[in-house]
Amino acid sequence: MESEPGSSDKPSNGMDDFETLISTTDVELLRRAWRNEKAAPEILRFETNLIDRVTGQLQLMEETVDDFVESSIDPLTVSLYQMDLDRTQFLLRSYLRIRLQKIEKFMFHILKTNELHDRLSKQEKNFTRRYSEVIGKHLEESVLLNLPDNYQSLIRQSTTSEEDDMVPEPQMDTFVVCKAREYVGPSELQDSNKSLASDLLMEMEPGELFFIPFKRIKKLLENGKVDLV
């Protein structure tokens, strides 16, 4: 009954590479993913490998605990294993729940944007599709069909709107607290908005905390160079 370090999986992006060097436990990776997901305004990439490994470990652990109880091992040990199991389960459940909340909130936006849609797991994609159908149908039948003709769209205010302005989008300039894991130079914090590029002459030493708009560190978060707190 060993806990597998993150190095057992083929690294598929920068973050995995970094982990294999340090061989952090899966629980730590899950905790990091949970924190990042909680603090980020938009939905992040689903950590399929990590979640699969953790679910497998949880199942093994549950069976082990059952075996222990049957073979009447010292109840203290059993309760400790159970506590650890509960803690990991909490992380996993909270992670999945937060993602579901974000999906529910920004459902149409996710369906529209391919980049975001690709970040969902298979079950989440299923869920989004079915949920949007159900909600769409409900809204149409209870409200939209009773409005005058030009206002009957789910995602536009009226047929005269140029874009889909009834779709809520995540606020990308929300300020988040981030902690740098490696040195981050000023060039990596560039904003695409040219007029602001001049004032980002800052750098981050590892371990420092910053309040910063989310869009500035979005790339760094994907590369694993910063963590949200």
């Binding site: 806990s3 199991l85 309040f211 910063i212």
Partner: protein, 211 residues
Amino acid sequence: MAVQSEPDYSLFTAQEIEFVAEDELIEIVPNMRMDPLNLICGDFGPFLPQIAAQVPLWLAVALKKRGKCTIRPPEWMSVEKLTRVLEAERDSEREFQLLPFHYVEISRLLFDHARDDIPDIYMVRSLIEDIRDVRFHKVQSSLETFDGRTSAVQIKSLSAMEVNIVRPFVARALQSFQKLDSLLPETDSTPNNQPQEADKASKGRRVLRGR
């Protein structure tokens, strides 16, 4: 699915911060023998009487509750170290002293469960509370330095609990500042701010809340 009425998921409750803090390692001295524990979060043990071991805080508290060990307080929790930290905090107006990220949660858990393991517990407790007060005052006073041109705020060596307390307010405040600032016409801001920008640029164009 009442999306509107759901609480903001991006806010950490105090219990969740404590949950994260409970994974920090701490030293215990078991008074019994136990086989190694192969937990999902790592392997610990074997536990032998009177031999110190490093375990996560939640495990230490669980063992302590059942009377199976004594907890050794971390080295930053001594009266002298804390007195030094407190004096340094009082002396410097803007700097925060380097304390473990989760010092509030760790000290709280130890006070609740490991009273007898901490020498001079009352002294330690009052020192830590004083430190918290002083730091929080500093945080509050530096909040007044925000303005519309703040693009990012550096907060070195603030602890998890303190970050969590100010986070909602600061995030909203900074965002409102930015929004209101962007509504101002461009021509107004540029000429006057040139010397100021150069000045701020030398500091790295950030409001320093901690050195």
